[in-house]
């Protein structure tokens, strides 16, 4: 009495799986998601390039011949060149102390390191004005020694360091915690010095997490606006980073130039996203422990 149904008939009747929604609903939801992202995220990005090239390629290039633009690029690169290595070293030191040792107050320390992440950019700039500004804590002392921090390059660098302070640490700490201390201890038993163990055992293990966090740190350092805006004083040719230069151009209704310079930063953002995604796709495990700690 056994009747065998033709496979085709069965395939029609059944749903793809018990644990998913019907086909139409799936595609509808996918559509809504993509539409939302296109409208809110992609469109603004495209606008940058559209506006930058609105008056043609010549007008686009003209934006970069300005001396002020050159100064802004130089300042941005300089700031990143100082802030990123500084926070890199800090990140490595902090995660070494936190991940490889057990001590009282560890959680508190991690929370404190995370603080800049939850502070508004403007407030980040404000607190440096409060310390180094003319009416600030160190104001009189700085004046007496003829040192200018606020409204000068040092202030910009400091504010940038503050804003990007936790980036490397919060990526490396969970990663190194996950990796544990067994390998370093093994290296020590084999006679390696602490520094040698760090160089030959720890560093290779964290290299992708390191690269990943440096990438993000750099993107933020070069793109920071709010904090830098507060401490910079907006002195053309002297204390304007690229984002500030964009603001000035925009406020002068020099839209093409503003978007042209902005396209540089947008290009940087796209490169960052690409490399970041590549790293995530290929080395998910080597950066994974940190990836959750957004």
């Amino acid at each position: 009495m056994s009747e065998t149904f033709a496979p085709a008939a069965l395939a029609e009747a059944r749903p793809a799986s018990v644990v998913t929604e019907g086909r139409w609903i799936r595609w509808l939801l996918i559509g809504i998601a993509i539409l939302f992202l296109a409208l809110f995220l992609v469109l603004p990005l495209l606008t940058v390039f559209a506006q930058a090239f609105a008056k043609g390629f010549a007008a686009y290039l003209a934006a970069f011949t300005e001396a002020d633009a050159h100064a802004a690029i130089r300042l941005t690169l300089l700031t990143a060149a100082i802030a990123v290595p500084f926070n890199l070293v800090f990140g490595i030191m902090a995660s070494w102390a936190i991940a490889k040792f057990e001590f009282w107050g560890k959680n508190l320390l991690v929370t404190l390191i995370d603080l800049p992440f939850s502070v508004s950019p403007v407030v980040s700039g404000l607190i440096y004005v409060l310390v180094f500004g003319a009416q600030g804590l160190l104001g009189p002392w700085l004046l007496a020694h003829d040192i200018q921090v606020i409204f000068a390059v040092p202030g910009i660098v400091l504010a940038t360091i503050f804003v990007t302070f936790p980036f490397v640490a919060r990526q490396l700490i969970p990663l190194m915690q996950e990796q544990g201390t067994a390998e370093e201890e093994a290296a020590l038993t084999l006679g390696a010095s602490g520094w040698h163990a760090f160089r030959t055992v720890t560093l290779p293990n964290i290299r992708w997490g390191l690269l990943y966090s440096v990438l993000l740190c750099n993107a933020r350092a070069m793109g920071e606006f709010g904090a830098v805006s507060v401490v910079s004083g907006h002195i053309r040719g002297l204390t304007n980073t690229l984002p500030l230069h964009v603001e000035i151009l925009y406020n002068e209704y020099n839209f093409v130039a503003a978007f042209a310079v902005a396209s540089l930063l947008a290009g940087l953002a796209l490169v960052t996203l690409c490399v970041k995604s590549l790293l995530e796709w290929r080395y998910a495990d080597e950066i994974a422990a940190g990836a959750r700690g957004h």
Binding site: I34, I127, I161
Partner: protein, 294 residues
């Protein structure tokens, strides 16, 4: 055995071992790493923040209240917090949808869409700011369409809302995404074998364990929106009492050398950030107790 000589007094060992700060370890470098970490933390983060706290406490609660109730300040706070609330809600809802679609469905270009979600993280705020302003201005691509149906986006809280959704979205997506990925399909199968339809399963079985993550994402998006500066000031138009945000007021007060006023507003914003962080920690603690995981 000869009795012990009485040459030295005999000290009894304490019954409890002394409380140690650091658990002894063979791994070297703690002193250096920990010292460096504390120094950097103190100088870069704690000192400037302390300056803010001292300035603010100098004002006293009464002083802060006075600033907070100033009509213009009150209005700016209302705008910042109110619009951020609505924007965070939007980001949470669509963020959940996007996270679900990215994790549970397969479609061409999924990986690229996944990478696009991080755009607001990578794009400098000033660039996003002018792009949104250009897009939603009355003669902009989207702004013109909205004007036709009577919605003014630029120079109104609506523009602020759009900018806040832009920056809050990645938080909403990334906090929920890992949890959706970890859902055990067997739970859904169990629900189906017990007779529940797909919607019932989604609402009663799949969704509830995700709620802590959704709330966390909401809180993060909210906190970020309140403090955001660069993405908003261009599209907002910054009309006092209408579309002026709290961070901008801080900048204005600083430019007027009203350090006290700036500090008062900053303290209020920091207070909210702190409360938000606290709320997140409480949510996660509750979740750990109830579900056994975060």
């Amino acid at each position: 055995m000869a009795p012990p000589t009485r040459a030295e007094p005999f000290h009894a060992q304490p019954l409890r071992p002394k409380r140690r700060f650091l658990r002894p370890s063979v791994i070297p470098g703690f002193g250096l790493a920990f010292g460096y970490t504390l120094t950097c933390l103190g100088l870069i983060v704690l000192l400037p923040l302390a300056a803010l706290v001292t300035r603010a406490s100098g004002l006293g609660l009464a002083g802060i209240w006075e600033v907070a109730t100033d009509p213009r300040v009150a209005s700016a706070l209302r705008v910042s917090f109110g619009v951020s609330l609505v924007a965070a809600l939007t980001a949470s809802v669509f963020g959940f949808l996007i996270a679900w679609v990215l994790t549970r469905y397969r479609f061409p270009g999924r990986k690229i869409v996944d990478a696009v979600v991080d755009l607001p993280f990578a794009l400098p705020t000033a660039v996003a700011g002018i792009a949104l302003a250009a897009l939603y201005a009355p003669n902009g691509l989207v702004g013109a369409q909205l004007a036709r149906i009577g919605i003014e986006a630029a120079y109104t809280p609506v523009g602020i809302y759009i900018a806040m959704v832009f920056i809050g979205l990645p938080f909403a997506v990334r906090t929920v995404q890992p949890l959706i990925a970890e859902i055990d399909k067997e739970i859904e199968e169990a629900s189906a074998t017990l007779g529940a339809g797909r919607v019932h399963t989604l609402v009663r079985v799949v969704l509830p364990p995700l709620i802590p993550a959704v709330l966390t994402g909401f809180a993060l998006a909210f906190a970020r929106g309140v403090g955001e500066y660069g993405s908003i000031i261009f599209i907002a138009g910054n009309l006092p009492y209408v579309s002026e945000i709290a961070p901008l007021l801080i900048v204005i007060k600083l430019s007027e050398y009203d350090y006290g006023g700036a500090c008062a507003i900053a303290t209020l914003m920091l207070g909210i950030s702190f409360l938000t962080l606290l709320a997140i920690n409480l949510i996660q603690a509750w979740s750990r107790r109830r579900f056994g995981y975060v």
